[in-house]
């Protein structure tokens, strides 16, 4: 990568940077021709005309001159849980973060193709980012509660929506914390700092905080990668609980997790969507050689 390019994306999340650097290495190691693989994708699986809340058509995301993801075409079903798996640097986070345009924080990026949320073009000039991000909530890889009290963390989103009354806020906070299965643990010290919570609790708090903006979609970027198995199990239970009410897109490195929680699974490699199908079908009977290699642990 030219030095200039590196400088341009210096503010980028470390994770993404690593992804970009790893991309080519993975390509070499896996010994598969991704371009070939992508060519013979049976794309009928990718498109679910009815019930689709997120529609992506030939969506390409550029970091400067470099592509993050390339020509992604897939639909995500409303109310379902969709897992995105793939080796590091395959662009799954990039795709996820494009959905609510959080990638805008990184300078010198642009996109091609179409990405729609609820029939609205995300990258249209007229998009109201505040509305978009309130509709599409996000949970990050590392728990990142604000350095505020638990109450204020959850109320933050509600206040953004313009809720000012104390009684309303109290109600929202309680409901969100209940939905995030955290209420019983924290109800007695809501005004304690959120940073005093354990990692798993923090992550559930982040989910509760996201719920407070009443989103339709929740994006989860490896939400359990910093948690122990017990906390992971709790989050997975929570995902199961939230399914139906919310559309959940989850990026994960853990294939068992993807198999456990998701209805559909997409396999990304080197910035391309290789395979996208019902989860049990993809794991038991992958159509692509690359997918099979990956899920059987031959690379990645």
């Amino acid at each position: 990568m030219p030095i200039k390019e590196t400088a341009k994306i210096q503010n980028m999340d470390v994770n993404l940077k690593m992804d970009l650097i790893c991309t080519e290495a993975v390509g070499r190691m896996s010994g598969i021709n991704i371009a070939d693989a992508a060519k013979n994708i049976p794309s009928d699986n990718h498109i679910i005309p009815e019930k689709a809340i997120i529609r992506s058509r030939d969506f390409t995301f550029y970091y400067g001159q470099k592509t993050g993801v390339e020509k992604i075409t897939m639909d995500i079903e409303m109310g379902s849980v969709t897992a995105i798996i793939g080796p590091s640097g395959c662009g799954k986070s990039t795709f996820l973060r494009s959905i609510n345009r959080i990638n805008d924080l990184i300078p010198h990026t642009h996109t091609e193709g179409l990405l729609e949320v609820g029939g609205q073009n995300v990258y249209a000039k007229t998009t109201n980012l505040v509305n978009l991000r309130q509709q599409v909530g996000m949970v990050f890889q590392r728990p990142n509660p604000f350095a505020k009290s638990i109450y204020d963390n959850v109320a933050y989103g509600a206040r953004l929506l313009g809720v000012r009354k104390k009684a309303d806020l109290d109600e929202i906070v309680e409901k969100c914390l209940c939905d995030a299965a955290l209420w019983d643990e924290v109800k007695d010290n809501l005004h304690q700092s959120a940073l005093a919570l354990s990692g798993g609790q923090q992550q559930r708090l982040c989910i509760a905080r996201t719920l407070a903006t009443r989103p339709k979609i929740i994006l989860m970027d490896e939400p359990c990668s910093a948690l122990d198995p017990l906390a992971t199990a709790r989050i997975e239970n929570l995902i199961a609980k939230l399914k139906g009410t919310y559309t959940i897109v989850i990026v994960t490195h853990n294939m068992q997790q993807a198999a456990r929680v998701s209805d559909r699974t997409a396999f990304f490699c080197l910035g391309r969507l290789i395979e996208y199908d019902m989860t049990d079908k993809l794991f038991t009977n992958p159509q692509q050689k690359a997918t099979e290699d990956y899920i059987t642990g031959r690379f990645g």
């Binding site: 503010n11 999340d13 609510n100 959080i102 924080l105 300078p107 980012l129 505040v130 509305n131 978009l132 991000r133 309130q134 909530g137 996000m138 990050f140 590392r142 990142n144 509660p145 604000f146 350095a147 505020k148 933050y156 989103g157 953004l160 304690q192 700092s193 959120a194 940073l195 005093a196 919570l197 982040c206 905080r209 996201t210 407070a212 903006t213």
Partner: protein, 542 residues
């Protein structure tokens, strides 16, 4: 071989770093402890009765009964001293004597006129009195003992003439007698020298005991004697010892020597009536001043007389506080907004990089440059006169680069995930900054503010031309207070240091100001550190 050296390097490095820290602490100790020790003398010292008089008059702090009692007691001792001096100076001060003689003659003339006398008698008496007067004047005027005695003898011859009983002429005779007595003891040829030395003695006496009862003084600093025992000791030294130029042993040059004024060999007042004075004062100084250990905590709130001769540093302290806090009011919001712009909004282009370089350069510009800029810009164009506003604007300008840099670093250090979280919830850029990034950067920004508060409080050069004065009104908050000049600790300290001999008499004030400044800065810092601790505790989740 190589790995063998590593522990040695480790050891050397540890030792060096420990040594440098120890050196720093030692230097701080060596510097601060004597400084504060000397400064403490402004607060804790042996105060004399003059000090209590001053407190009573100027600040209304008194215990009337004890004070009056004390004044009476010390006055007794002083009267003894004054009597000695007066007696000696009466003979010496021929001008006063001559005036007295003339006055007496005039009075006598008036008396004669009111008496029922024949014209001839009146003329005779008056002529005789005039004769006596002229002889007296001539005697006073002369420095030759023989001539003086001749004149005095002539007066003696007139003494028994009738008609002078119980008139002012009798007093004239007494003057003559006194003078005769005096010339026996005093070398008349040295009268000029005596007068000069006596003036010096009187000056020091004045410095010790203040004006005599009934004597009125206009200047505040002349209203009291030595208020502090250490100052009194200094004046005592000036009183007893004189500087004389004597030929050096090689006979070529003169050299300065210190000798006692009552030294039997060389002292100016050797073998005169005044010689016992010095022993007397030396012995009775404590009784005349009644020094007592005083804890003068009001030092920090009291106004002082011009030249800081008496009183405290209240206005200076208040002025410094006002200047510093006002400067912070300008610099902190501006600094944070600039830093926020540089980090969050400005991209990374040539102009922004130039701005960063400029800020870094400004942080290192000598403060006198800011002072001159303050004069040339704020004073000339904005306030039109040196005042608090222009001074604090100049100070704000001085600390702005420091604050911008600290705030920039602090804001940059806030994890990107905080911003992502806020943005992910739908917050806009400004809202993210105001509600998430800024609070998280708070402790770091406060560190920068702490550094700049200390700097702003201690700087002299920027306020030198922009609004600090040595003598000024006590800061108050009525009317347009920001258009007044103000006193400040740093400037006052500078003023005493570059001052004249009078300023050399108040080193305790100089050090007292430095100590006050240090205490002020430490207090401001502790406040800021406490706030920072609270903030970061909240951030960490305590």
């Amino acid at each position: 071989m190589r790995t063998g050296m590593r522990p040695v390097f480790d050891c050397v490095f540890t030792l060096l770093s420990a040594a440098s820290v120890a050196f720093l602490i030692a230097a701080l100790g060596i510097f601060l402890i004597p400084l504060c020790g000397k400064g403490m003398k402004a607060v804790v010292f042996r105060g004399t009765v003059e000090f209590r008089k001053m407190q009573s008059d100027r600040f209304n702090r008194r215990n009337e009964a004890t004070l009056q009692n004390e004044i009476l007691q010390t006055q007794q001792v002083r009267d003894e001293i004054y009597a000695l001096v007066d007696h000696f100076s009466r003979g010496l001060d021929t001008q006063t004597l001559a005036d007295q003689a003339k006055d007496l003659y005039r009075k006598y003339g008036d008396e004669l006129r009111s008496r029922d006398l024949s014209r001839q008698q009146f003329a005779d008496l008056r002529a005789a009195a005039k004769d006596i007067r002229d002889h007296l004047l001539a005697a006073f005027d002369s420095t030759d003992k023989a001539v003086v005695e001749e004149h005095l003898d002539a007066i003696e011859g007139l003494r028994h003439q009738p008609g002078f009983e119980k008139t002012p002429v009798e007093t004239m005779f007494r003057l003559a007698d006194d003078f005769r007595e005096m010339i026996q003891k005093v070398d008349l040829s040295r009268r000029e020298e005596y007068a000069e030395e006596l003036a010096a003695v009187n000056k020091e006496l004045f410095a010790l005991f203040g004006p005599r009862p009934g004597q009125q003084r206009v200047l505040a600093m002349e209203s009291y004697g030595a208020t502090r025992w250490d100052v009194a000791q200094k004046h005592l030294r000036y009183l007893i010892w004189q500087e004389k130029w004597v030929p050096s042993p090689d006979g070529q040059t003169l050299q300065k020597v210190l000798i006692r004024r009552d030294d039997p060999e060389k002292g100016s007042f050797a073998k005169t009536e005044l010689a016992p004075l010095f022993g007397l004062i030396e012995k009775n100084l404590a009784a005349a001043l009644n020094p007592r250990l005083t804890f003068y905590w009001q030092y920090f709130i009291d106004d002082s007389t011009p030249g800081h001769y008496f009183g405290g540093v209240g206005p200076e302290l208040l002025g410094t506080l006002m200047l510093t806090l006002l400067a912070m009011c300008f610099a902190v919001p501006l600094g944070i907004i600039s830093a926020a712009y540089l980090v969050e909004y400005a991209g990374d282009n040539l102009a922004v990089r130039m701005i960063r370089i400029c800020i870094n350069t400004l942080a290192g510009v000598p403060s006198i440059v800011y002072g001159l800029f303050g004069l040339a810009f704020f004073v000339h164009y904005i306030t039109k006169q040196p005042c608090i506003l222009s001074a604090s604007l100049t100070l704000a300008l001085l600390v702005l680069p420091v604050i911008i840099r600290a705030a920039e670093e602090a804001i940059r250090a806030v994890p990107q995930s905080y911003r992502e979280a806020a943005v992910g919830l739908g917050a806009g850029k400004f809202r993210t900054f105001a509600t998430v990034t800024l609070p998280a950067a708070g402790p770091g920004i406060l560190t920068g503010i702490i550094l700049s508060v200390s700097r702003a409080a201690g700087e002299t050069a920027p306020i030198l031309f922009a609004g600090a004065v040595a003598l000024g009104p006590v800061p108050n908050f009525t009317g347009k207070w920001w258009f007044q000049p103000t006193r400040a600790l740093s400037y006052g300290c500078y003023d005493i240091t570059v001052g004249d001999k009078l300023a050399a008499m108040v080193p305790h004030n100089q050090f007292g100001m430095v100590m006050t400044l240090i205490i002020l800065v430490v207090c401001l810092n502790i406040t800021a550190i406490l706030i920072r601790m609270r903030l970061s505790k909240k951030l960490r989740g305590g």
